[in-house]
Symmetry: C2
């Protein structure tokens, strides 16, 4: 499938902004873009996923599939985020078997959405 | 637009299940179905929006539009949920101006998602 991993680049994750220093969401996005890309997944920045009290946040979405939003993430979570995104992209409906999801995806789900009607 | 208001019918909202009594999400769904329907919005039950620690939860979605998930809702919120859903359906992109959103939608957003790629 053609999945998209949206990364909120405006998440502050509870930090007070420091002039000249990228916010936590921007740092997570940069770290994800520096990692080996997950197969079948485009990584896209987005301004605000409206999960501000649970940042940093990312979302996985693909046409005709369930979408997922995860929170309380940081640069230390890049490897499991990439692995989880690749597992998502390998499905036909967005539903990765529970045991095959990274622990951060099992524990830090903020919400999921049914496939959009066509 | 053709919007869908998904209602998590399995949300317990922190209550201990009582045999024979519908869980909080099922009660919210029933209350929404009993209300005057919002124009342009279909109401659909869904099993689990993965927002379990912030139930009851609902989601608004429409093709080509931003989607939203809201939480910590109950049967007392039916009127603003219906009003907010109708306002959402009246947009072309899912983005209701901030001041026109019901207070529960301004304060109880769990997440939003960008439009799905086609």
């Amino acid at each position: 499938m053609n999945a998209t991993l949206f990364v909120c680049t405006t998440c502050r994750a509870g930090e007070t902004p420091v002039e000249g220093k990228p916010v936590a969401g921007a740092r997570l996005y940069a770290a994800l873009m520096s990692a080996p890309p997950p197969e079948g997944v485009a990584i896209a920045p987005v301004e605000c996923l409206s999960a501000c009290s649970n940042g940093c946040a990312v979302a996985l979405s693909a046409p005709g599939c369930w979408s997922y939003v995860y929170g309380r993430l940081g640069v230390d979570d890049v490897t499991p985020i990439i692995e989880g995104a690749a597992a998502y992209a390998a499905t036909t409906d967005g539903l990765v078997p529970w045991r095959e999801r990274p622990q951060i995806f099992r524990r830090q789900s903020l919400a999921r959405l049914p496939p959009q009607e066509r």
